[in-house]
């Protein structure tokens, strides 16, 4: 039968059918309660986005007294620039970042995990070192560097570093995963005369779909949520990303548009959520061939 694959998808020991009904109910109840707890703040935000503005902070219940979408309209088109523009900007930057990260970091991770070369441990330690530096510190020197390159007020400072594997987190993540893949596969391929590149392309990457999908998801979401980078490098309002746009709703010295903020915040969750849903299939399906390719 397709034993390997179905059990990979439906996973280890207990099948659903074998579990007793009370246990199943308990598990589901716990999960549902946990879900509510996790979701409560989000539900509050969605509710706040559809209720009349002066009710947002005064009422404690989740159910609005009346549903009213003006916050969405105002949030979307109330600024000089429609929010759609911000969505587009964020999308472009995020997709470029994902591509850069997945490609560049997997290359570096493969080198660290599988290839031997002089100085490997040294460079690995350096790579980890870059994880530890808080970005506020290298901010000004980097800003000056990009300024001299003429890249300020473009998306280049935000995107190019990704193609140069600047997110050590993903390199580290992929190294850990690559090291979990049996070396025998590499050795067999090498005996067949495969070059390092072919092993990377034909063996490593296909078997690492879960971690690549993970990297893609995280990469997308973190970029989507990042505001400090765009704050510093994007001056023109029509290049603003979503997070920057959201922050213009709130100003401590004058009036803030909380309804608009919550409406747009809710809206910004949508693409990320779909990105996540799309890629998480890879997390399930990808594993079906682990260890099977012999």
């Amino acid at each position: 039968m397709t034993n390997g694959i179905t059990s990979a998808v439906a996973a280890p020991p207990s099948d659903i059918t074998k579990r007793s009904l009370p246990a199943s109910i308990v598990v589901h109840t716990l999960l549902i309660m946990a879900s509510l707890l996790m979701l409560y703040p989000l539900l509050w935000m969605v509710s706040a986005s559809v209720r009349p503005e002066n009710e947002i902070f005064s009422s404690t219940s989740l159910i609005p007294s009346s549903i009213d979408f003006t916050s969405y309209v105002r949030g979307w088109s109330g600024l000089d620039i429609t929010f759609g523009r911000f969505f587009w900007n964020s999308l472009v930057i995020s997709l470029l970042t994902v591509t850069g990260n997945v490609v560049a970091c997997s290359l570096a991770a493969y080198a660290f995990a599988r290839l031997r070369f002089a100085g490997r441990n040294f460079w690995f330690a350096i790579m980890l070192g870059t994880l530890m530096i808080p970005y506020h510190v290298t901010l000004i020197p980097q800003y000056v560097l990009f300024l001299n390159l003429g890249w300020v007020n473009t998306i280049l400072p935000l995107v190019v570093p990704k193609f140069l594997a600047s997110d050590a987190f993903f390199i580290f993540l992929m190294v850990q995963f690559f090291r979990g893949i049996p070396r025998e596969l590499d050795e067999a391929a090498m005996m067949d005369g495969c070059s390092a590149w072919r092993i990377y392309w034909k063996i490593m990457l296909p078997l690492s779909l879960p971690v690549l999908a993970t990297a893609a998801i995280f990469s997308f979401i973190w970029t989507w949520d990042d505001f400090f980078g765009p704050l510093i490098y994007l001056n023109d309002m029509d290049t603003y990303t979503i997070q920057l746009g959201l922050r213009t709703f709130v100003d401590s010295s004058s009036t803030s548009d909380w309804g608009g903020l919550f409406a747009m915040s809710t809206l910004t969750l949508v693409p990320v959520f779909f990105f996540f849903l799309f890629f998480q299939r890879l997390l399930i399906d990808g594993i079906a061939t682990t260890g099977m390719k012999r």
């Binding site: 000089d80 000056v144 213009t248 401590s252």
Partner: protein, 428 residues
């Protein structure tokens, strides 16, 4: 499989990247291009952009790019741009920071443009002084305001308490506050917000005692006993439940929407007069403004009219003349004044005040009248704060919180305040 997708993405991504980089900031090339940076929210941005349009109509060939951010994002953006020699031409400036930027040479001195290019004739001379640091003019005031208490008239009526007047003393206010709390007409409601950590309030207090926060030569101008009595007064208010308890006050994050008044916890709060419109927008009840309480029935000089914010010009600007011209237009053109009205404060130019006065609605008239009618409650403008004064604000807030939460006694807090501030000023 996945790799073909990746490769496709890669190629597509690369192409997009190249084309996007080609788009770049073409605007850098244009002649007479001004960059403007201010803080505020969309309503303010709408007004500012309209004024820019008016200016462009009168000065064809100029292109103006306006950028704006919220207050807390504004300062890191500005700092980074100044550090990177990429500062905007016209910068909105705040009293707290103008000294820091001016003394470090980031702003252009403007007095040489007066009076021909920059005509501030009908400004109150004291308000022009407010933008001067070390004898040079670095900022043109965009509006005057003064500190004030914001009073919830409806809540006071409910509790059967009389409205405070311009002669109300702290003692009287304390009694009023306790009454409001006792009346208990609203859940978790108290008389007034805890202002022990608010610098404008404290400054007003020491000024009424004939002192000040800082001297003109950057030394501390009040003593430990002033501070201790201040903290002690508030400790007594807390005991009498005239003001909100410390954990409610600690929710306040210097924004209108976290103020105890807005959160529905207090009937009286403290603000700058030009924030009145903002407060009224988020509070259902009718509000009004009043001055800070007096220490004694005949105290005076606590208040002062201060510039709410300035426009400064960057010392690095490549379009100095144009920038100054724009600033002049902003504060002296009647059409501009109509667009801006009192959103940034009461216009400094008398001519503009006259233009605007006729247009204000009831809510807008309140801050105007308040500032105009201060009389001898207002004294002279203090000298520009020394370097380190901004930290002094934080120290005051922190010590006040420590007293409120019972970690430090008022007497000790007073001493510590003086010590810390003296140390800060010495550090420079």
């Amino acid at each position: 499989m996945t790799f073909r997708v990746s490769r496709r993405n890669f190629v597509a991504g690369g192409a997009t990247l190249l084309s996007l980089s080609a788009l770049g900031p073409g605007a850098f090339a244009a002649d007479a291009r001004l960059r403007l940076l201010w803080w505020g929210s969309q309503p303010r941005a709408d007004r500012t952009n309209k004024v820019s349009d008016l200016y462009k109509a009168k000065n064809s060939g100029t292109s103006i790019t306006g950028e704006f951010l919220g207050w807390s994002d504004y300062w890191p953006r500005l700092a980074t741009q100044v550090a990177g020699r990429n500062a905007p031409d016209v910068i909105q400036m705040d009293y707290r920071y103008i000294v820091e930027y001016a003394r470090r040479g980031a702003l252009a001195p403007l007095e040489s443009y007066m009076p021909s290019k920059l005509n501030l004739d009908d400004f109150d001379p004291a308000q022009i002084e407010g933008g001067k640091v070390d004898g040079h003019l670095y900022g043109v005031s965009l509006g005057a305001n003064s500190a004030a208490t914001v009073v919830n008239t409806v809540a006071l009526q409910e509790a059967g308490v009389e409205m405070p007047t311009n002669k109300t003393t702290w003692e009287e206010l304390g009694k009023m506050g306790a009454e409001i709390t006792k009346a208990g007409k609203r859940k978790g409601f108290f008389g007034f917000a805890d202002g022990s950590g608010a610098e404008p309030l404290f400054e007003n207090y020491v000024r009424q005692r004939g002192k000040a926060l800082y001297t003109a030569d950057s030394k501390i101008a009040f003593g430990a006993d002033d501070a201790s009595e201040w903290f002690d007064m508030w400790a007594k208010f807390r005991e009498a439940q005239a003001c909100v308890p410390p954990d409610v006050q600690a929710l306040y994050k210097d924004t209108i929407d976290t103020a105890p008044l807005t959160l529905g916890k207090a009937a009286i709060d403290y603000a700058h007069s030009n924030q009145f419109v903002g407060f009224q927008a988020v509070v259902k009840d009718k509000l009004t403004l009043n001055n800070y309480p007096l220490i004694k029935a005949d105290s005076k000089g606590g208040h002062y009219r201060k510039p709410s914010m300035f426009f400064s010009v960057s010392a690095q600007s490549k379009a100095l003349e144009q920038a100054v011209d724009y600033v002049n237009f902003f504060v002296k053109d009647p059409e501009a004044a109509k667009v801006l009205d009192v959103e940034r404060g009461i216009p400094e130019s008398k001519a503009m005040r006259d233009v605007v006065a006729g247009m204000l609605d009831d809510v807008g008239k309140i801050p105007l009248n308040y500032v105009a009618n201060l009389g001898d409650l207002a004294g002279p403008l203090p000298p520009p704060p020394p370097s380190g004064a901004g930290e002094g604000q934080t120290v005051l807030r922190q010590l006040a919180e420590q007293v409120a939460f019972g970690q430090v006694t008022p007497a000790d807090a007073g001493k510590q305040l003086v010590d810390e501030i003296t140390r800060l000023l010495a550090r420079g």
